[in-house]
Symmetry: C2
Subunit: 816 residues, 2 copies
């Protein structure tokens, strides 16, 4: 094929033509910017100035990729690959280039020498492909940069896709993580009738960055026992001795596929299995593969006087100083030539027929799967009307009581019903559905679980579309995989424990942000958290359950992909959820309560309020209009109650003080528009908050989140933000508010402190304190503040005595 003979031939050949080609290309991507097919002797100038990437797991990835190609070629199933070891991206690039999907998404990446050169130049280059998997790679839905989430993501992709086989490579580094260790149980939630299958390949190459792996130190007996215990049927494939001509990985994949088909055939029977609903068949024992290889298999056995192949020294860039050290350059050339590239590519650099012999073509290629670009498959949910579930307010604001989550559950039940046929909506939850008053949806679907669920269980069925496992990590992984393959879902979770998936949120938000920059990626449904069982109502659970910081973390992410909503009542919650279940491309947090609470807006008002993001609640402020002297603002259900109560106290005790009440439902509306796309215009901001009015803003979470959003607004120092300040324990709701300075009494005192001496005239600016009012002078205000503080302290003393909040707090509702 080429006239360049092997200059250095110290190394054995490695595997099939496809695998040799893929491994060769993976190495070439890491090292070379020119002479990528080694048509001439390797010179330092052919090497990239910055050698970046990770070789260690590349050979394992190509082994699995090839075996899956063989399966697809021979049998034609729909196979999606989730590569947990994103650090082996060079191998995925190699396979995508070989199969030709790369060039279909990017015409510059032609399947010839120029395309390969371009790919090599872009790999790990500024403005090129990042070093890990990323949304820029066809067929890819997982980056694998932060380890732990591949397996749960793979399960999410397999849910409700009965024809799909999701292969998932888990490295033995990743296998040590908690999220992966939990996710092995996911198979118990996978219905063989309505869902596809997941084929995990645990890739044991024995070494992480510099330590041996835990799994490599386990005996075969222990490995087998562990995974049988998890419920799998593991098969250990050891390729370290690489017998010539055998293809043990492809054999194992074929055998696994046989077992998967048998499980599915048995479960599905003739009628597609629908008649089996709510019965409990035997739980299937799905196959999995444990692939033992050498780390960096195929690299030189030794380099620089120390072992290389099969050791952690092969993790990143073997022979890193090849550019500077001629001996090392020769070793590198010898290694690259050991793949015999002259046999693998034709004169134009196109892959030889032998290379592509077992590589599928057309839409079955792993890189061509529509599920790898799930927005293409996504169909909008058929959302039911809200009004049957809306709370009626016969006598205006405050005239009804409802649990926002229960109202939402009614509507979600209809969402479940309307998605019954397409099966494209799921709820994941860490066993908190009932606790969060969302269990109404179980009227329309079950809790997913296969096999006998134990002695006593309610509402469990294999094809249920509620998924409850006490692992926020698994819930999030499932939902990511589900959304990324074109479906819809919701993640209700205890607010305080959402932080368990802070880092998953980080990575997913980054994925979404990168996806926006890939022109061919179709947007997927937004990922929405319903943060509930809020810290303010943790009578049973106390301080550990008081943590509103998930919002803060979300807000650090790129504003193009973030949203935070604090609906103050049931109808606003419904409107927000209707919007978010139709939305794409974002990560949203919605904070809502489960406890029955007073309701403020009817459905039409709720729609207007949510469209605006924040509005003046005229009925709650001083009647009769006029320029206000102070704004009481609130964001969140409980802050709304307290703010309205404080406004009521002030209206009663200081009737001619001009106070405006503003409620904020879309928190990011507070931000300047240049900092967040939801940010309201300067004009609108001024219309709500004035230009220099004092604002007492009671916020559901940590005040810092609001401070940061207000950054860049004019005179942010006039905003006095109250919120949770980490003063918590198990106590009554009102006592918790008092501890954090957010009780109605504290808010009223704060308002009095910031209320200017009543101005005699003028458009609402701060008055000269020397100009006293017709009604109350500053001494009056101080006296009133003293009364409020005194009453607050009395209430607190009573709470300590009785253990309960007094009726003046618990029975309070807003009176028009």
């Amino acid at each position: 094929m080429t006239d360049t003979p092997p200059a250095h031939r110290h190394h054995r050949p490695s595997g099939s033509a496809f695998r040799r080609a893929a491994d060769y290309i993976a190495a070439a991507l890491i090292y070379l910017r020119e002479n990528v097919l080694l048509r001439e002797p390797l010179r330092p100038g052919h090497l990239k100035p910055r050698l970046l990437g990770h070789w260690g797991s590349c050979p394992g990835i190509t082994m699995v990729y090839e075996a899956l190609n063989v399966l697809v070629t021979e049998r034609g199933p729909e196979v999606l690959l989730v590569t947990g070891t994103g650090h082996g991206a060079a191998a995925n690039h190699a396979c995508l280039w070989l199969e030709g999907t790369h060039q279909e998404y990017d015409p510059a990446l032609t399947r010839d020498e120029s395309g390969l050169t371009e790919l090599a130049r872009r790999f790990c280059a500024p403005d090129g492909f990042p070093s890990h998997l990323s949304p820029a790679l066809p067929g890819t839905l997982h980056e694998g940069g932060e380890l732990g989430y591949a397996l749960a993501t793979a399960f999410g992709a397999a849910l409700d896709a009965p024809a799909r086989l999701v292969a998932c490579i888990v490295g033995d580094g990743e296998a040590e993580t908690g999220p992966t260790a939990a996710a092995w149980h996911s198979a118990k939630f996978l219905d063989p009738v309505t869902c596809g299958a997941v084929l995990p390949v645990l890739h044991l190459n024995g070494h992480k960055i510099s330590s041996p792996t835990v799994f490599a130190a386990m005996s075969e007996e222990e490995l087998t026992a562990l995974f049988r215990g998890y419920g799998w049927d593991p098969r250990i494939v050891d390729v370290r001795d690489r017998p010539a001509g055998s293809d043990p990985v492809a054999d194992a994949v074929r055998a696994a596929h046989d077992t998967i088909r048998a499980i599915q055939d048995t479960a599905r029977g003739d009628g597609g299995g629908r008649q089996r609903r709510r019965q409990q068949p035997e739980r299937p024992r799905w196959p999995m593969i444990v692939l033992r290889s050498l780390k960096g298999q195929g690299a030189p056995a030794r380099a620089g006087g120390r072992p290389l192949e099969g050791t952690f020294h092969a993790h990143q860039i073997p022979l890193e100083d090849a550019r500077e050290d001629p001996g090392r350059l020769a070793e590198l050339e010898g290694w690259l030539r050991s793949y015999r590239p002259w046999e693998l590519f034709d004169a134009d650099g196109r892959p030889a027929a032998e290379v592509l012999a077992r590589c599928p073509s057309g839409p079955r290629r792993l890189g061509a799967q529509p599920a790898g670009n799930g927005g293409l498959l996504r169909r909008p949910l058929a959302l039911p009307p809200l009004h049957p579930h809306a709370v009626r307010l016969p006598d205006g604001p405050g005239s009804a009581t409802a649990s926002p989550n229960r109202a939402l559950a009614g509507w979600l039940t209809e969402v479940m019903r309307r998605s019954e046929e397409r099966r494209d909506f799921r709820i994941v939850s860490p066993d908190e559905l009932a606790s969060n008053r969302l269990d109404g949806v179980l009227a329309a679907t079950g809790r997913a679980f296969t096999g006998p669920p134990g002695e006593y269980a309610e509402d469990v069925s294999p094809d249920g579309r509620v998924m409850e496992i006490l692992s926020e990590h698994t819930c999030q992984g499932w939902l990511q995989g589900y959304l990324l393959t074109g479906r819809h879902g919701l993640f209700p979770t205890y607010e305080a424990f959402a932080a368990i998936v802070d880092s998953m949120l980080n990575q997913y938000a980054k994925w979404q942000k990168m996806s926006r920059e890939v022109p061919w990626r179709a947007p997927v449904s937004s990922l929405t958290y319903l943060l509930t069982s809020e810290g303010w109502r943790q009578e049973h659970n106390g301080y550990s359950h008081q943590g509103p910081g998930f919002i803060d973390n979300l807000l650090t992410k790129n504003s193009a992909v973030t949203g935070v909503y604090l609906p103050p009542d049931a109808n606003t919650l419904l409107v927000v959820m209707e919007r978010l279940l139709a939305e794409t491309g974002r990560v949203n947090a919605v904070v809502a309560g489960k406890q029955p609470a007073a309701q403020w807006l009817d459905l039409d008002e709720a729609r207007r309020h949510c469209t605006a993001g924040a509005s003046v609640w005229e009925w709650a402020g001083t009647p009769g209009g006029g320029e206000p002297e102070l704004v009481l603002a609130c964001a969140g259900g409980i802050p709304t109650v307290e703010t309205l109560a404080a406004a009521g106290m002030l209206r009663h005790d200081l009737p001619r003080a001009r106070i405006r009440v503003v409620n904020i439902v879309d928190l990011c509306a507070l931000a300047p528009p240049r900092r967040h796309p939801h940010g309201m215009s300067e004009e609108r901001f001024t219309a709500l908050f004035g230009e220099d009015l004092p604002v007492v803003l009671d916020f559901h979470g940590y005040p810092a989140a609001v401070h940061e959003l207000l950054h860049g607004r004019p005179r942010p120092g006039r905003f006095h933000v109250r919120g949770y300040v980490e003063e918590g324990t198990t106590t009554t709701p009102y006592d918790l508010l008092i501890r954090n300075g957010t009780s109605r009494h504290d808010l009223a005192v704060a308002a009095l402190r910031h209320l200017p001496g009543r101005p005699s005239a003028g458009p609402g600016g701060p008055a000269d304190p020397a100009v006293l009012a017709d009604l109350a002078d500053l001494a009056d205000l101080a006296d009133l503040a003293g009364r409020y503080a005194g009453r607050r302290d009395e209430i607190r003393a009573g709470i300590r005595r009785t253990g309960t909040d007094p009726p003046e707090i618990t029975d309070w509702t807003w009176q028009p």
Copy 2:
């Protein structure tokens, strides 16, 4: 014992006298505020107005507690209990009251009726005991509110305490979490010679809040296989049929203790095992217990027409409406009387002799363990001097280059050596020690691992005090348990992945805050994260590895327990670490780099700088003093380099502009003193930043963190904060800075934008822009800014072309 006959006797007795007493008390704590020994018929007024707590796991906790008591009574080992199911706190309270430790810590909790009444009134009451375990409970070092961390914490407590047996109750809810699933591997890191043992009791009661548990749905064969696969020797104990007179839990604990002693005897041999160091014996197979019980075992079998005992309905408060419903009240009374309290307490309410027969007394009681109040055991580390490890600066700032982490590693090696005898210092790391250039410490100790570590490994030994597992959760749990039992440690981790333990940090910081409020708690060593492999230097790893938000999360916690440090060079890092390894009671994050970088301060200067928290670097600003017109401030290693470079550019191009450079090492010094104890005084703040000077502050992380700290400082709007704004990918270091607007060129442009037109006179206030300078008018400044921006864009174009940063960036060092 009492003259009150059993009014309702519908229920079987349950277990031994101790267990009946403990279960009875646990229930009484949940329900009763009077008549706590049921000396009279139960009336609604005896019940608490708010019924709070969780019954479901209480009976399992008392079973285990009793069995441990039996072991201690019979054999006398040092046993510490970690209760993962903190939701069963009522059971722990009951056992602590019975054994008399409660009254030793709080004289009001006497072991009689009045003490029990007081305990019941405080349980879940405002200002009383919170609903979960908490630092207020003697012998306790884990709250168990957020599930997942008990097992790793137990291992941390057992490290380097060869006489200690740490029992750990893991619920089957908790067992579903990822952190727990990973922590089972911890046994592979536990040296039987130098460490104690952990005895896990997996408590399967089958139900979570409302779903069946995954583990309850597993067959005995699967359970056995799973834990054998993990490396344990599991024994399943089923107490659901409760054979009268048998004591299967105590039997299982005895048997486990036999095995543990055999393992330890074999490993330790005669010489205490020290001679065995760095050999690889067979890995021990430690015993564990799987305890199958009914959920809420002992509660009525049915209530309100539905099953109760053994179902999820027993999770929280069975018979919740007993106060309102007379029938339910009778059921409650019948249940409580089924424990036959009249047999269990004497006329004064003291526990009967039979109850205490198998309950230890004195210092071996579970609640009396000093390790449960580890500050008592803590001895300050013998810290070596810093100067042998300090970087010399022969020609002043910028005259040497060093990797801060490597310098630190030198000092930590000495810390390892000096703690060799006491074995009270460990480093935990998710396999990143070498990557973070801290592997120098392996000269003084090994990486902990027992049994054969696989085919190729370096520096592995069973008694090594570096612990590397690719699970941040496990690392954190180990370290928490280690510190809470009076030892010292450090957690170096990739900055971006520290967020994996955001929620563990939340809970641990809450624990520390609560501990400060418990008078008898002695402070434990601070938990310090070394956040390294920072996002700015992720050439190999890209966007997923760029996430400085851990600091933001830490700063949401109570300021009494938080610290954030950004040492700009090696010597400041040494000084900060010396301080933090001597400190107690806090959670600290230290950000430091591993790459070789220019060094700025000698050791004495570093000490002064760290003491101050932030200082003016006179040598970097405009020479000759005078009131500055603008401050260039920086926090973090790379921001320091860029700020000094920007200052250099401006000194060169605008020599008479008066620019001051301020470096911030203790980030919280920026906060007003009322908001953080590290906050510098108003006077000092003004001395650094002036009263109204413009400040361009380049920060290592998200700008929001600095905005929030500056909240409450005068005129915070004059601070123009640059930082990471989520614009990332795999690229060169300088390109990443440019993308985020933090390159030296961007900083210089920002300075020019905010530099007032040069004032003709006056103390540094912003000048009238109309008053132009003798040197540069506004047009000159704009022109210069244009030049800088143009050069930045040229550099960026060059980076895209060549893939590397130009020498003017990479070779730059500060020149005096």
